[in-house]
């Protein structure tokens, strides 16, 4: 009796995708909808009340702080993207084309990915003994005679924020780029060489174009992680720098949920627009 609808692949497909769909509906779609709704609500000092007003958005777009903070967020994203791309591409290129045995490739690849499975908070904390006023970096530079006084901008600055971003997220570049590079047909490289291309020409005219999908996927990861971050900026800048995530988390701490929600909606739209642009260049499902 139940066997008839089960033969239908659409019914069966939906049944098997049901647990995933339920989780996404309850903990992704519904929260987004809730945020969108609450962004029109009002707030007193202690509570929030349902309403339909644009006050939160008016305040948000009327404040010069908003534009500054969105600018800072984009700046972090852009700089981190450029650095992680340069480092990630180089590392992946070395692994894919210069390491010759597959076992060695896998081993070194794992070395690059293992930090991903450890705690981000700990990895941020671990920079403190390096960058502090009396940290390793300052001590070393002073003992070498490069500087006389400890550098103040090493910790709790844009520098430390970006350093931590690069430290945390470069492997999001390495993995997809390495994955695409490993699928490049080696005979294409031989063909390039047979036709007289130098190593550099092969890199720029053969490998780079073929690696674009991996670069795009890495870019999506890095840009969205940096744009949505609030904890790295708060911790590594000692609360002295702001990005959109911190704007939201500050509002939350003050129980100003509608205002936090409005900022969140604008942030989400910004991120989705960036992704939509990037997705024009790549078909994710084909690249796995």
């Amino acid at each position: 009796m139940a066997a008839i609808p089960l033969k239908n692949r659409h019914v069966l497909g939906w049944l098997m995708a049901l647990p995933l769909s339920v989780v996404l509906l309850a903990f992704l779609i519904a929260p987004i909808a809730m945020i969108a709704v609450v962004s029109f609500w009002g707030a007193t000092e202690f509570s929030i009340y349902p309403a339909f007003q644009f006050d939160n958005y008016e305040f948000l777009f009327g404040s010069p702080v908003t534009y500054k903070v969105f600018g800072a967020t984009l700046k972090y994203a852009l700089i981190t993207w450029a650095l992680t791309l340069a480092i990630g591409f180089t590392v992946a290129y070395f692994l894919a084309f210069h390491v010759r045995s597959l076992t060695m490739q896998i081993a070194l690849f794992l070395v690059c990915t293992i930090p991903f499975w450890t705690s981000n908070i700990i990895r941020m904390i671990s920079w403190i003994p390096f960058l502090g006023r009396n940290g390793i970096a300052n001590q070393t530079l002073i003992s070498w005679g490069v500087i006389d006084e400890p550098l103040e901008w090493l910790l709790y600055s844009d520098f430390s924020v970006i350093l931590a971003f690069v430290h945390l997220y470069t492997l999001f570049m390495v993995v997809p780029i390495f994955n695409t590079m490993m699928r490049i047909d080696k005979s294409l490289l031989e063909a390039a060489r047979d036709n007289g291309a130098s190593g550099f020409q092969t890199l720029v005219h053969v490998i780079l174009p073929l690696t674009k999908p991996g670069i795009m996927i890495g870019t999506i990861f890095v840009v969205t992680l940096v744009m949505g971050d609030f904890i790295t900026v708060r911790f590594m800048s000692g609360s002295q720098r702001a990005n959109v995530g911190r704007l939201i988390s500050n509002d939350i701490a003050l129980l100003q949920y509608p205002s936090a929600a409005a900022t969140a909606v604008v942030l989400l739209c910004t991120v989705l627009i960036v992704i939509a642009i990037l997705l024009r260049f790549v078909n994710i499902r084909k690249e796995l």
Binding site: H10, G13, V38, G228, I252, I275
Partner: protein, 278 residues
């Protein structure tokens, strides 16, 4: 073998520096966690001792580290099992190219790229408005799944893109039912990848911070506890905790990798009887 070009050595050096960059800081706090009782947060070492580790096992002025560890561990296991089961089912579902599958796929991608604080905020608001209490095992659990499931799903895509369907056809030709095909053919073949999904599920949950922030309720998970410590603890005890939980993470990762390796060996030994017949 042909001679290595000079670029190899330059790139190898770059790679070495990158690995140092990745692991250097964590090794440093590993060393610093053995500071003497009077040592500070940075070098020089003021003697060598296990003082700060012992300190961890004693009553803490703030927080409840061991309770937090137990909760994170339990939650990690919950998320791990759920992630594996749900991802496999979804992976099998997507092979059927059912109507609307693109919708679910884009939802999963959105789940991956959405700023974590939005999940935290949204889930927190919903529980708040429904009058439910946020708790790590309910709202925290669900929020973490929005981070682990997309990874599980992407791994399943990678697995099924490489899956040789003639094994399934062979099973069906021999009269296996749909369930038998999955249970005795598909699942054993993809088992090592499932270990990978489990690894993602557990470790991403165990270390998750942003999505758990507003959804864990009054009982903290370990990353929340550690973050709380950063604001009011100024002794190397925080390094000791960092070292310990990192060692724990490494042990878990090692365990998973070992399992995959042993499975591969077993499979190589028992998987094929080619050449044994004649």
């Amino acid at each position: 073998m042909e001679k290595r070009p000079r670029s190899f050595y330059v790139l190898a050096a770059f790679f070495g520096l990158f690995v140092l960059f990745l692991y250097g800081p964590i090794l440093t706090i590993g060393v610093l966690s053995f500071q003497g009782p009077r040592g500070g947060l940075t070098f020089p070492m003021n003697g060598v001792s296990t003082h700060w580790f012992r300190d961890l096992f004693q009553e803490q002025a703030v927080g409840d580290i061991w309770g937090a560890f137990r909760r994170s561990f339990g939650l990690g296991l919950m998320v791990m099992v759920t992630t594996v089961v749900v991802s496999v089912m979804a992976g099998l579902a997507f092979r059927k190219r059912f109507v609307g599958s693109a919708l679910v796929f884009y939802a999963a991608i959105t789940s991956l790229v959405i700023p974590s604080i939005l999940i935290s905020l949204g889930v927190g608001l919903i529980f708040n408005q429904l009058g439910l209490k946020v708790h790590w095992a309910t709202s925290g659990f669900g929020s973490q799944l929005t981070w682990t499931l997309p990874f599980g799903l992407l791994i399943m895509f990678a697995v099924f893109n490489r899956f040789d369907q003639s094994y399934e056809e062979a099973a069906r030709d021999q009269g296996a039912s749909a369930w038998q095909t999955i249970r005795f053919v598909v699942l054993p073949i993809i088992a090592p990848s499932l270990i990978g999904v489990a690894l993602f599920g557990f470790t991403l949950s165990y270390d998750e911070f942003a999505r758990t922030l507003l959804t864990a309720g009054s009982y903290n998970t370990l990353p929340l506890e550690i973050f709380g410590m950063t604001t009011n603890v100024t002794t190397p005890v925080i390094y000791a905790l960092g070292t310990l939980t990192t060692v724990f993470s490494f042990a878990i990762i090692g365990l998973f990798l070992l399992t995959v390796w042993v499975m591969g060996k077993r499979r190589a030994r028992l998987g094929s009887d080619a050449g044994k017949g004649v």
